[in-house]
């Protein structure tokens, strides 16, 4: 009946346990409350949620763990927490608090064994590796891995790196095009397609969504297993339910919103 159902994943930026970057739609009492927003997206039919922790302060770990705990108490769909995760202990605390997956990025580039350790300790299904890639003529695939939010070059070929983290123990790749992020011009389909065909774990396409058709393109042309977007959902342009309807109308299998 179903073989592959594409997931639609809203992404929320979180600073000190509060959702930031102007989520602004529907009647919610507190647009900064991650629990309330998670519930709204759950109602709209979101398949998972990603919380990206951008907290700079040193108490980030405690606030994020608290947030994970609060979300898990009220919202019964899977969610991933990423941002600033450096050690197996960071991962353990987030998982114990109710997060289903964690995503590691810079820390994995600095110390790839972290991916293996997390996969071994908690199972690869909860180990997401986030790859931020930019086009670059210095790598074989034409895409290079960047860290620190796209500021730091690593010299790593994005496709090779994806293969490497999967070999180490990643259960999923969260692939963001830094060229497209924030442009609303659609996913980088060449990048998405190159990575999704190189690995046998699910790939989440991210970066650049400005319309519902972009989500369709990410799946049909990019081969993504899941699509992630932020602004088109946060500013009330589209609901997750609308996104799923569009995808379904284009022949993509999705879990229908209830």
């Amino acid at each position: 009946m179903t073989v592959r159902a594409i997931r639609v994943i809203p992404c929320l930026d979180v600073d000190a346990g509060r959702v930031v970057k102007g989520v602004n739609f529907v009647d919610i009492r507190d647009a900064g409350d991650p629990v309330e927003l998670a519930a709204v997206y759950d109602d709209q039919g979101a398949d998972e949620l990603v919380f990206l922790d951008i907290t700079a302060s040193s108490d980030r770990r405690d606030t994020t763990v608290k947030m994970a705990r609060a979300v898990a108490e009220k919202v019964f769909i899977p969610f991933t927490i990423g941002g600033g995760i450096r050690t197996v202990d960071d991962v353990r605390r987030l998982l114990m608090a109710g997060a289903d997956k964690v995503s590691v990025n810079t820390a994995a580039v600095k110390r790839p064994e972290l991916v293996a350790e997390v996969g071994r300790e908690f199972g690869r299904q909860c180990c997401v590796v986030a790859i931020d890639a930019k086009s670059s003529s210095d790598t074989g695939s034409g895409f290079e891995v960047f860290t620190h939010g796209g500021r730091t070059r690593t010299g790593l070929d994005a496709v090779d790196w994806a293969r490497e983290v999967v070999r180490l123990g990643a259960g999923e790749i969260l692939l963001t095009s830094m060229d497209r992020d924030g442009t609303r011009s659609g996913f980088d389909l060449v990048l998405t397609s190159a990575v999704s065909s190189a690995v046998d774990v699910p790939v989440i396409a991210s970066g650049g969504v400005g319309s519902l058709q972009h989500l369709v393109d990410g799946v049909v042309e990019g081969g993504a297993d899941a699509v992630l977007a932020a602004s088109i959902f946060h500013f009330g342009e589209h609901t997750v339910a609308e996104a799923k309807r569009r995808m379904s109308d284009c022949g993509i299998t999705v879990r229908p919103p209830e």
């Binding site: 592959r4 398949d47 299904q125």
Partner: protein
């Protein structure tokens, strides 16, 4: 808490992974859910849940080091309603291809196998429960097309206990039941309202068993 007349559901705490969601899910389903490794409390519970995430071998190792492997077998043998979830389902089997040489609980004398190729592994997505015509109390109140959330690379060999499959390249065993023993390969505690309904159905069944037996 004293004076609490909600049914006591013991969620086996063997120190691994995300047990918080299962805990809150059962609370939400109307149970007095406790994360515990206390034998006395587990014996008092009307239902016992073996949740699980991660890999077969670390899970078996943790069960063994906490003695909860024996406790699980005792409870199943005693007829207490018992619900294995995800890896908690897989460890009910004799062995897994994921960990050659590592013995499972062996309640079901079959093997857990790698999902056949040609699909991405893990299966990490929502999928439809195909109940194959079975009308089991686990599914009471679910819509005809019930979607639930799966995360797994391995899957138990199907057999006479099977009550639902999902199609992921091939038909995989998604849920099974035998007398007091229920198990789900998917995560009811992460499957939104359908999943919460399944947890509630388990609590209802457990209360029913307790009424009959004592």
């Amino acid at each position: 808490m004293p004076g609490d007349d909600r049914p006591l559901i013991a969620i086996l705490d063997y120190g691994i992974g995300n047990l918080h969601s299962a805990h809150k899910g059962f609370d939400h389903a109307g149970a007095d859910a406790r994360l515990t490794s206390d034998r006395g409390l587990i014996a008092d519970a009307v239902g016992v849940v073996l949740p699980g995430v991660g890999a077969f071998e670390p899970c078996m190792r943790a069960l063994h080091s906490t003695g909860l492997d024996e406790v699980s077998l005792e409870r199943i043998e005693a007829g207490t309603p018992f619900f294995g979830i995800c890896i908690g389902m897989q460890v009910l089997f004799a062995a897994s291809e994921e960990a050659p040489g590592c013995e499972g609980l062996g309640v079901i004398d079959r093997t857990v196998r790698l999902i056949p190729g040609g699909v991405k592994r893990p299966q990490m997505q929502w999928n439809v429960l195909d109940r194959q015509g079975f009308d089991h109390p686990m599914f009471d109140g679910l819509p005809e097309e019930a979607w639930v959330y799966f995360v797994h690379s391995y899957c138990a060999e199907s057999g006479p206990e099977m009550i639902a499959t999902c199609d992921y390249g091939t038909d995989l065993m998604a849920a099974m039941a035998r007398d007091n023993l229920w198990a789900a390969q998917f995560h009811p505690e992460k499957s939104g309202s359908n999943g919460l309904r399944i947890l509630k159905n388990f609590v209802t069944m457990a209360v029913c068993y307790a009424g009959v037996s004592g």
